[in-house]
Each structure stands twice: as C-alpha cells, then as structure tokens.
C-alpha cells in the first residue's frame, strides 16, 4: 500500500526537516507534490521521470511522478489526484482544452498548478517553458533555411492538429520563413503523423514521391517520433543532402540518423531539467517567493527566467548534430 505510506512519510519528513531546516524557508519535502507527464509511454517523459527521481535523491524529497499511458486519459487522471490532498500539481498538458476545467477544480481545491509546454492554460499559477515555442520553431526553420540556402519548399509535420505545442512550433517556423526567407515556401498544411513513426515515414515518403520536381528542400518535425520517420523516408529515397531535416527528437530515438547526417539538426530541451524546474517553481509559488518579472531557479538553463503573463520562459534548448552527438550529456 504505497498510498497509505504517502501520508505517513509526509508526516515524518516534515518533522525531520523542521529539525534541520533553520531558515524558515520550506522545501519540496514539506509539500505533497505530483508531476504529471503528457503520457508515461514516451522516452521523453521517462527522461522526465529520471529527473524527478534525481531530484528526490538529491533533496531527500518524495515528489511523485505519475500519469496515464495514453494522452487522452490525462484529464481523468488529474481529476483523480485533486481529491488526494496535494499541495501542488505540476503537469505537462496533453490537451489544454480538456485539462483546463479540471485544473480549475484543482485551484478551487487550493492546489498550486504549474504547467509546462502549455502557455495558454487559464487555470494555473504559472507555466515554465524551456524556451518560447514560436522562437524554437523559428530556430529550426532558420537551420533549414541556412542548409538549403533559402530556396525551395519546406514541409512540416505535427503529431496531431489537436496538440498545441506542435502546432505552435510549426507556426513559429512558418512565420519566421515568411519574414526572413522570401524564397522558402512552407506548406500551409502540416502533415499529421499521429505521433507514430511509421505513419510519419509513409506520409513523408508519399509527399516526397509526389514532389517530382524536387522542390522540397526541408522537413521540420515537431514530434519526437517524426524525425526518425522522416529520416527513414529520405534515406530510403536516397535524398540525403537534397532534403534537409531539422526536428525535435532524442538521441535514443533518432541517434543513428543524426550520426549518419540524415538529420542535420536535432533539437530538444532536457525533460529531466524541465521536470525539476516545475518542482522548484511549485515550491517557490507555495512559499510565495514568486511574482517578479525575473526568477532564478537552481536548475541548469532556468537560472534566469523572464515572466510574461503567467509564463516563465528560460533559454534551455539543446542543439545536436553530427559533430556533438556523442556527448554523454545528450545520451537519453
């Protein structure tokens, strides 16, 4: 019964902390905090779990990492948490619209709500972003522009039209191109991959096949599974070097294509750090030490966050390509 032990462990950690903690400042150990990922079944979020575990290691806390395997179970899952006496819930919304009213309930119940990858949530205290998604999208597009010396057509892929951060990312890239690269034509409609590598592969392949005039010079992928999918298509069709891929992914998922140069830019932010940042922000919020336009969290890449509305934005994205991909730091 891990459930029952929750409360008790919470009890005794409290006591021992008040003992050793001389500055009245409370820490994560004094609160019951949960970190909820979009879904548990992605390498991406297993990395986040890693981060939470490390955090608990380091600070002797018992922050919970829990969620539903499929994204569309998230709202119901969080709803279940509300009734279980948490001080703060840190969540990476899979589906903002679905989650928002549930989070409203959470706030009614006096729970602090911290989000990630979801700047548009209404019912939250704060959202912490590794970076500005629009900028991030622009960043990827910039790379494609550079690789294709600014001429040709670019296709974008998103996991689902219903996934906000993906759509924003694509939008950011498109807007950047319209401003800065007149000859770079970005398709109006992104390809939808259902966040499934196989689907991404066949749809990209289809698009490339249809493109008999070789106008396509770049592919921008928003979802982690799409980058290898697209890479596989490009590689099989023998279009390496002609079609440039820049996308979000992880070494564990897309490593080989980065190494052989099919994927020329792979960007990501470290979910582990993001997770820790959420926890720290939650604690800060509970302690009421937030609100100024800038905030510094003891987490790499989140030292100087800038506040805009309810969104704290850092500068924590990591670029990986052929040259630096063997760095252990990125090996997850």
């Amino acid at each position: 019964g891990s459930g029952s032990s929750d409360d008790s462990s919470k009890e005794d950690t409290k006591t021992e902390d008040t003992a050793k903690d001389d500055s009245g400042e409370k820490t994560a150990a004094d609160y019951k905090i949960a970190v909820v990922p979009k879904m548990t079944n992605l390498a991406w979020f297993e990395r986040m779990e890693q981060g939470v575990d490390d955090y608990n290691e380091a600070n002797g806390t018992s922050v919970e990492y829990c969620g539903s395997p499929e994204g569309d179970g998230q709202a119901a899952f969080v709803e279940g948490l509300i009734s279980q006496g948490y001080d703060a819930i840190c969540v990476v919304p899979f589906d903002v619209e679905a989650l928002d009213p549930v989070l409203a309930k959470a706030k009614e119940a006096g729970i602090v709500v911290i989000c990630h990858e979801a700047s548009t949530v209404e019912n939250m205290d704060y959202d912490v972003e590794a970076f500005d998604t629009l900028e991030y999208g622009a960043h990827l597009m910039e790379k494609i522009n550079e690789l294709s010396d600014g001429k040709g057509r670019v296709i974008q892929t998103v996991g689902a039209l219903t996934s906000q951060s993906h759509v924003e990312e694509a939008q950011g890239g498109k807007e950047w191109a319209e401003k800065n690269a007149p000859d770079l034509k970005v398709d109006d409609q992104p390809i939808v991959s259902d966040d499934n590598q196989d689907t991404a592969y066949s749809k990209v392949k289809e698009a490339l096949t249809a493109d008999t005039k070789h106008e396509i010079v770049g592919i921008q992928c928003a979802a982690m599974s799409e980058t290898p999918g697209a890479a596989q298509a490009v590689e099989e069709l023998g279009l390496q070097g002609k079609v440039h891929i820049a996308g979000t992914s992880l070494m564990s998922v897309c490593g080989e294509y980065v190494e052989d140069g099919t994927v020329e830019l792979m960007s990501f932010w470290d979910p582990a750090l993001a997770g820790q940042a959420m926890i720290e922000l939650a604690v800060a919020t509970l302690n009421g030490t937030v609100g100024e336009d800038t905030l510094s969290l003891p987490v790499e890449g989140y030292e100087n966050l800038t506040l805009e509305g309810k969104v704290y934005t850092g500068s924590a994205w990591i670029d990986v390509d052929k040259d630096n991909c063997n760095d252990e730091a990125y090996d997850f």
Binding site: G1, S2, G3, S4, D6, D7, T40, N41, E64, C66, G67, S68, P69, E70, D72, G73, A75, A76, F77, E79, G80, L81, I82, S83, Q84, G85, D95, V96, E97, A98, L99, D100, P101, V102, A104, K105, A109, A160, L161, T162, Q164, V167
Partner: protein
Amino acid sequence: MKLLKKIDHNILSLLGMYAVVLIAMAILNPSTYYSTLNIKSWFYLFPEYGILTFGMMLCMISGGIDLSLVGIANLVGVVASYMMVNIGGGKECGMGMIIGAIIVGLIIGVLCGAFNGFLIGFLHIPPMLVTLCGLQLYTGIAMIVTTGPGITGVPQSYINIANGTIAGIPHTLPMFIIVTLVMSFLLKSTTYGQKVYFLGSNEVASKYSGINNFKVIMTTYMISGFLGAISGILTSSHYGSGKSNYNTSYTLLSLLIVVLGGVHPDGGKGKVIGVTLAIVLLQLISSAFSVLRIDTVITDLVYGLILIAVLVITNIAAKRATKVKTK
C-alpha cells in the same frame, strides 16, 4: 443455496468484485479512498461513459453493436460548442443559445443513430462494420468542423452542467440515475423493450411474429445515438470544449462494461441492473488504482483479467445450475 440459484450468476460475481475492491481499499487506504472528495470525484466521471454504455448495451441486446458512440459524442460536443462559441458569442452566449445548442446536439445524435440504423436495418450491413465506419465518419466530420484544435470558450453555465453541483451532489449523478431508470423501464415495461429482446434472440422468428424489425432496429440505434449525444454534451461541458478526439478509450471500455454486465454478445440477453453494477464497479477500481498510485498501464491488464474471470465464472456457474447442454 436455493436463494443463490435465484439471483443471476453474473450479478453474483459482480457483487463479489465489489466486496473485494471495497474491503481491499478499507484496509489499504481508507482515509483517501473513502474521503467525501474522492467519492464525489466518482460522480463526475462515471456518468459520462455510463450513459454512453447504455447505448452499447441496447444495441448489443438487439443482436448488434455500436462502435460509433464515441464518434457521435464528440461530433455532438463539437457542434454544440461551435454553435455557442461562433454563433452564440462564446462566454456571453445567452441561455436560449445554450439550450438551442444542446437540442441541436441531441438531434444530431439521433440522426447519426438513424444513419446507423438505416444501414443495418434496411441494407442489412453487419452492425459491427456500419458503426465502425460510423465512428470514422462522425469523427471525421467533427475534425472538419474543428480543423483540429478544440473549440474553447463555451459559457460558464454550460460548463456547469457537468461540473456543477446541487446540495453538494454533482448534477451528473441524478442524470445518470434518471437514464438508468428510463432504460430499465424501456426494456422491462414497454412493447419496444420486449421487441428488442425478440429481435436479438431470433431475427427471422421476430419478423414472422409480425414484429417490424426495421422499426425496432431504427429505434434502437436512434436511442443509442441519443444516449451518445447526452454523453457528448457532458464531455464537452466537463472539458469546457468540443473536440474530435475526446475519450477515444470509451469504445472498448463500454464494450467491456456491457459484457461484464452480463449482456450476451450474440444478443437477446442482458439486464440494466447488471450493466449499472459494472459501470460503477469500473469507477471504483480505477479510483482505487489512482489512490494506490498503481501505474495506470496495469488497469488494462486488470480490466482484461476481470472480463475473462467474470465470463468464465458465469459460464461454469450457469453450466452447474442447469446442466442442459444445448448443442
């Protein structure tokens, strides 16, 4: 022993499950599980899939199946939200418009059901396929209306339907109870209800008994669509938005519940009480899992095991009771 024989074996095994879960939680973590807050959270959740499940049940008793319910629900939610947001003016949408949206939603649900019913009853296409295609079509239309992202900004009073409470009890609970009572009346005490059972047990004989199969099938799938629509209204109200891909897991869930509830997949058999028990049982279990912080991937596993277990137990028990081997 005689008394036990009287009660349906399936219901017995379900009650057994109840005992197991409730006692287990009383030992493991009563403080959280039996807290009013937690119990309240159940009432928000199970009516949503419960009402939709009754649609599945009705169709299965009639010898069919309705895999399109989730599609209908989402389409209804999307259209209703669309009306309130894009026509009614979003947050400031007037009461009239809200009611209008709900009514239109319910009508759409019934129409979807009618479409299923027509293909099944008139063109005699196997229900499983019709409703499978239905799922695609209705989801597709919802997708076309939304072009992807959910339609947000519905008025507060609409959101209150699924999230509000009266005297501390969520609105959804009385709704669910009403639907349950109506369903059991419909099946037990109306001509239509009996006809559904006849249709389910032998289509030909029911035709030769002067029952208008087409009419009964149409009614059945329209009612099912109607229930799907209600569930769709609740969902979109609950989430404060309409979207094409909410609750996709409910299709299998409802199928599982209906069978757990003792409805025979070949039709002709099934009681509302059994299904109701099954609906609540699954809520109790999933809540127990979330309280015990058991990894949710295990839920699939457990649901599957329960399903098989109940079926096996029921079969064996039934064989014991009446050894009449019908070959």
